[in-house]
Amino acid sequence: MTTHPTTTIEATDLAKVYGDGTRALASISFATEAGEIFGLLGPNGSGKSTAVRIFVTLLQATSGAARVAGYDVGRNRGRVRQLIGYSGQYAGVDQDLTVSENLGLSGRLHGLSESQTRLRSDELVERLGLRGVAGQRAGRLSGGMRRRLDLAQAMVHRPAALFLDEPTTGLDPQARNALWDELRALSAAGTTILLTTQYLEEADRLCGRVAILDRGKILTIGTPTALKDAAGEDRVTLTLAEPGGPDQRALAQRVAAEVPGVLNVRDGQEDVTLRLRAAGDALLELIRRLDREGVHVARLRLVPTTLDDVFVAYTGESPRSELESGRRPTSVFAAIHGGGAR
């Protein structure tokens, strides 16, 4: 096998209906470019994992085609398995083996020689911050460390196409950044990456393009910037120095409403919330005018566009909670996106 400079990941009318009748994917189509980092963005139960599991040959599609580097994953399983690396939502590490042994096993099972495996293991242990625990059994690692080991295993053979199912869930910011760096480097060297995520920020920082998935359908595909612009608005919350003063609040609202880029102004009991497009310029102008008019602002909070907002823009409603869709409930989605009690 030589290098695959043209490794692409393609779905054509890909659909999956499980044995119990659950329609997980309803005919999705997309195609990555070679070396692209492509994101599948959506809440739990939207079909992200199903799509990935089809690509990595763990699931059979009900209809349609999934291709990696032109090879149909249903018909050319052996070929596809040579080309891919996979890290699923449950860290696939052997608890009884050490970090090095786990990496060694993965490398060797992918056909690397003993020495290649050692070289590559050392490299990844270093890059992903596993140096200090290389000799420890995986079962004794923290959740985050185990996750990193799992990701290292998926990359040990330098796959032409890498599939990562929510790779940064459970990682601390430092580890997350290290992983992002590693993924960018891999992508720059020609590895095509398909990852799923619930975080718009992750998609924003990492992905060339993103497909938004909801209830097994792709709502839209685009660059993160384009999606955010289309979804529209950043949110700014002003807390006034004297929240009780109705004059101040009225004044703040009047001033804010006149700033170009501000789409609407809402009066809360304690504060004033604005929705605005492209917060950068509008925000500066807002602060300048508030100051000039003598409004005393105690605190100003900027909430950038979230996945929720993008969803609302494309579906007209907030992403369903897991409970409503009849699947396992999860608090992760709510916690991440500031929904619920937060």
């Binding site: 763990l58 059979q60 398995r81 891919i84 042994e101 096993l105 099972l109 799992d150 060297a189």
Partner: protein, 276 residues
Amino acid sequence: MNAQLVLDRALLPLPHPSPTWTTTTLLLARRNVLKTLRSPAFVSFSMLQPVVWLVLFSQTFTGLSDSPQFQRLGYPSYLMFVAPAMMVLSVLFTALQSGLSVVTDMDAGMLDKLRTDPIARSSILVGRLITDAALMAAQATVVLILALGMGATVAGGWAGAAVLVAGVVLFGVAWAALSDFVALHTADSELTMVIGLFLTLPVLFLTSAFFPRPELPGWLRAVSRGNPAAYVIETGRNIMNFGNDWAAIARAGGILAATLAATLAAATAAFRHVTR
């Protein structure tokens, strides 16, 4: 600048052909053996259990050998009668454990990862079974040595003893593959255990494992003729008591091999079930 260049080349996909079946099977077997050895308590109890079975059974039922019906059969002692069955009983528990290991790998996401690797499904299974076989061989040998220490003899000599252990392991591995089959279908450790026990204990009681065959009711005798466990136990007993009848040994070996082929094929096919 130069370092950057080296770095980038280091990131390119490595040219690597898929490893051979033998390589991956041995790699996975080594992994399983390593796992087993890292659980010394598991190994100790696996070895202790057969000892307890043998002592318990041979002492409890030793009075049976005084009955005229038993003496008519020509076995010198109940120990000589029951020892091969104890070897089988011991490895059957290891066979049950095989399916549980598969479920553990499923729960840990380990099996998913292996299934996306460029390796054959059968090598995942055979890698598992090789490890089981090694543990079973150790168990069967311990029971045999202990029986010899308690006064038993093997009429078939060294060759007979080797055939006896091999037969017991062959049967055990066939049952381990069956347990793996159940595990892959249920993906549930409790179910695997319950179904495994259901498929295991009656198999033993439907043989002359603990009581001489003429003592069994007629219908049970008929059923036990189609039972691979009956072949390994009876052939083993004949080796210990009367010597090597190679024709009978070959026939029993064939039946055990066919049983293994069937359960292994079923377990390999069960991987397809997981894909749906």
